[in-house]
């Protein structure tokens, strides 16, 4: 597990929920390797925010992109080389604020990638402003009178837009988190995991521990999943939905691989001449 860690200095706050995600992921990868997923095939992308610092700490290849664009980077990687296993990290502001359109479209397309949404319900790195998942009434520096917008429900949103694996888990439940990560990464299609993770300057672990509960079972239908996502509160953990539908890159070019099966220069020139001269 240790060689999954780089030498980079870790700058998360002591006690940050991100440590739980970091640990669970380092637990999950050897287990995935045992199941035949090659570590060298795993590529990560991250947006910008506290979540994204994981990019520097994980000793895996990848692209540390711009705020909100990590899922686009991930889509571009998968499209170019579908043999790769792509994991994209996002915060709630990053993926549901700046990058909302990209998150929704990656799900709509059922891109075969995994998105881990670190939900701390706050813009932590930029000093505590309200986020797309912040509950009403949050007094941050940009909403001194309390935020009055209704937050998104990430789970029902992902159900609506087409994700094919949707789960919520918690940075304080490492076993559950590890298990869900493994399921999501193994899933073929767009898998979305919302991970509740306290940003300790703004929320305490106890606020979470008091509220978390587990789903009794995987809802059997889409309708049941939607009902569950909407009726249960925002601290309900478990897999909400799991289904199969065609993935994007196979719709685009079947079993082709644009990179590993690229046409030689000569073949290209010959075909260009055919187009121009018949």
């Amino acid at each position: 597990m240790e060689n999954l860690k780089t030498n980079a200095e870790i700058t998360w706050c002591p006690g940050c929920g991100n440590f739980g995600i970091f640990t669970a992921l380092r637990n999950a990868i050897p287990k995935l390797e045992a199941k035949g997923i090659n570590r060298k095939d795993i590529v990560i992308t991250a947006g910008i925010g506290c979540h994204a610092k994981i990019f520097d700490y994980l000793n895996l290849s990848g692209l540390y992109g711009l705020h909100g664009r990590n899922s686009s980077n991930a889509e571009g990687m998968k499209i170019a080389n579908p043999d790769l296993k792509i994991i994209t990290f996002s915060g709630d502001g990053n993926g549901l604020g700046e990058g909302l359109a990209h998150t929704i479209f990656a799900a709509k397309r059922n891109q075969d990638i995994t998105m881990i949404l670190h939900n701390n319900s706050v813009y932590a790195l930029t000093t505590g402003q309200y986020s797309p998942l912040t509950e009403k009434g949050w007094k941050g520096p940009s909403t001194p009178g309390g935020s009055f917008e209704t937050p998104f429900n990430a789970i029902s949103l992902m159900l609506e837009v087409g994700a094919t694996f949707i789960a919520r888990t918690f940075a304080g439940e490492i076993t559950h988190l590890t298990d869900v990560l493994i399921q999501a990464i193994e899933h073929k299609g767009f898998s979305f995991i919302e991970v509740l993770q306290p940003a300790v300057p703004y929320h305490s672990w106890n606020e979470y521990r008091e509220k978390v509960e587990f789903l009794e079972k995987l809802p059997e239908t889409y309708e049941e999943a939607m009902k569950t996502a909407k009726n249960k509160h925002r601290y309900t953990l478990g897999v909400f939905y799991k289904t199969q539908r065609p993935v994007y890159h196979e719709g685009l070019y079947g079993d082709h691989n644009p990179l590993t099966k690229r046409l030689s220069r000569n073949d290209r020139i010959t075909k260009i001449k055919q187009i121009l001269f018949g």
Partner: protein
């Protein structure tokens, strides 16, 4: 679509080079509503001319709407090279009154004007009942274009048999009706048109392609693997062409949700080693600039086609301008190497696209292929050296500890792509050689220096390449231009019999000042399509050139060679 037109292509070699270009010029203009097959009639005309071994330039002028409005197509042909449309036509075919009104002055002195007598009564020219004749057929609106081709066929001296063969090839649905209709119209215009402009045959059949097709094919030849786009005129036809060719060439071609997604997906693809390109116009490019900057710091090889239309903002979507030059030169926040180059001709668009794809992979930095609607969407017969295209090859990692941002003498770090046992980290934050985020003062400066070294190496490389086209003339004045205005200039000089020296920098960043030094204190004039004269400013500021005057056009229309030659003549006197 642009295959050789094989019918009626017997070539009479006796006529090789007999007449001067100007004497031999013929222009066909067809105008009507969107949805009436105006553009198609123009391209059929172009193919008829090319099947005669002649050269062709076709300009399509259309409005930003789907049905109605006014569209027209101008096709100019010569038995020698032609690089512009001429707005004064020898044969004008108007499908409706609006077209007649718009093109009242667009006819040569002895030219023929055909109008639709069902739409207007007392117009100048020859009236034919186009609407009531077309009414007799099920696909009424589609008959107009066939009628225009029949009128053209009569005018240039084709017999019915030759015409019908062309109609058969070019309008394959409802052939019988099309031929019947064409025969009717052919007979109707017999008196006024028949053999009025018999066209001499040229010497060689050439394919006809648009600038965007040349860009697309050049990218493919250069090694393109993935293309991302979001529809925006005048770049959309790159997306359409490549989408259609994706399977044939094994490409991934994706229409994404926004230009933000487009550029960031393309960067993701480049990370895996895929040769990636994106295309857009000014508004979409504005969104892409964050990605251009990302490519700068992550050292991502990425090629962006920026096809200019009149701005600012939405501007005039289906017309042409050269006002995004400054924007392209400084696109993206921060200090980093941007390569900007602009093709002067459709042939150059092919070779330059492949060349830029190679450069971005050699130098691991973004490049912008700057062009205009005038090149993107117009078409001409081309003389293309297909085999000469560059092939994009990066410097690759061979052995040892891999460091993504290894600091080397020339600043270029060897590349490695997943899957790999080595860890490959590309980072939008300032980073160390391993790609790990840094805030160290020493490392920040070191990485700036590393990336900056690439400019020196690039200039060294470009000094061995053709970066400026110079045609030496005899007049003491030099004319500078860039992009597709070069084609307008060539035609204007030919038309006017003028021979100043022409200088067309292909590269705009870095500007090849080593090629321009000799002109610094000479008498220079600039021609460009920008109200503020952005290109002239660049030459003055970066090249230190003395510039006497700037000939500008900024009404969305390309220069007409006749008008331009008059303006140049005034400047040269």
């Amino acid at each position: 679509m642009f295959k050789y037109f094989r019918v009626n292509s017997r070539i009479n070699l006796k006529n090789r080079g007999l007449k001067s270009m100007v004497h031999d010029l013929f222009t066909f203009l067809v105008g009507g509503k969107a949805g009436e097959g105006v553009k198609k009639a123009g391209s059929v005309a172009a193919h008829i001319f090319s099947s005669l071994g002649r050269q062709v330039f076709q300009m399509d002028d259309y409005m930003s709407l789907i049905r109605g409005g006014h569209n027209f197509s101008v096709v100019s042909t010569s038995s020698s090279r032609i690089t512009s449309q001429y707005i004064k036509a020898n044969l004008v075919v108007n499908f409706d009154k609006r077209s007649s009104d718009n093109h009242i002055n667009d006819v040569t002195k002895s030219g023929i004007v055909i109008f639709n007598s069902d739409e207007q009564e007392n117009a100048d020219g020859i009236g034919i009942p186009l609407s009531s004749e077309a009414e007799k057929y099920p696909m009424k609106k589609l008959m107009y274009g066939v009628g225009a081709v029949a009128i053209l066929s009569s005018t240039i001296g084709m017999n019915k048999e030759q015409m019908n063969q062309n109609i058969k090839n070019q309008y394959p649905s409802g052939i019988e009706n099309n031929i019947k209709f064409a025969d009717t119209i052919y007979d109707m215009v017999k008196d006024g048109c028949q053999n009025k402009y018999p066209l001499e045959r040229g010497v060689k059949n050439r394919p006809i392609i648009t600038g965007n097709e040349a860009i697309s094919l050049g990218a493919i030849a250069g090694g393109l693997d993935t293309y991302y786009g979001y529809p925006m005129t005048p770049a959309s036809s790159i997306l359409h062409f490549l989408a259609k060719q994706a399977e044939n060439f094994g490409l991934a071609v994706v229409h994404a949700e926004s230009e933000l997604a487009v550029i960031n997906m393309a960067i993701g693809s480049s990370f895996t080693g895929a040769r990636s390109m994106v295309g857009t116009s000014g508004g979409g490019f504005a969104l892409m600039t964050e990605g251009i900057s990302l490519a700068g710091i992550t050292e991502t090889p990425i090629l962006c086609v920026l096809s200019m239309r009149p701005g600012p903002a939405t501007g005039v979507p289906t017309y042409t301008e050269q006002a995004d030059l400054n924007f392209a030169l400084s696109a993206g926040h921060g200090d980093f190497l941007r390569i900007v180059a602009s093709p002067g001709t459709i042939e150059e668009a092919y070779s330059l696209t492949a060349e830029l794809l190679d450069l971005v992979w050699k130098f691991q930095t973004p490049a912008i292929l700057l062009t205009e609607k005038h090149l993107s969407e117009n078409s001409m017969t081309i003389n293309l050296n297909i085999d000469n295209a560059k092939w994009a090859e990066p410097k690759l990692y061979t052995r040892g500890d891999y460091k993504r941002y290894l600091d080397t003498d020339d600043g270029i770090s060897p590349m490695l792509f997943p899957p790999s046992k080595e860890v490959i980290k590309w980072n939008s934050y300032e980073h160390d050689e391993n790609g790990i985020t840094t805030e160290s003062a020493e490392m920040i400066a070191k990485m700036h220096d590393k990336r900056n070294k690439k400019l020196r190496k690039l200039i060294e490389h470009l000094k061995t390449q053709n970066t400026v086209n110079i045609i030496r003339g005899e007049h003491p004045t030099n004319i500078f231009t860039y992009g597709s205005t070069y084609m307008s200039l060539l035609e204007a000089l030919k038309y006017g019999g003028l021979n100043p020296t022409i200088v067309q920098p292909i590269y705009l960043s870095p500007l090849p000042i080593w090629e321009l030094e000799e002109f610094i204190n000479q008498d220079n004039i600039v021609i460009e399509q920008s109200v503020t004269g952005q290109f002239a400013s660049l030459l003055k500021e970066k090249g230190g050139l003395n510039i006497r005057s700037v000939i500008k056009r900024y009404d969305g229309r390309p220069f007409d060679p006749i008008e331009l030659s008059i303006k140049i003549k005034e400047e040269l006197e």
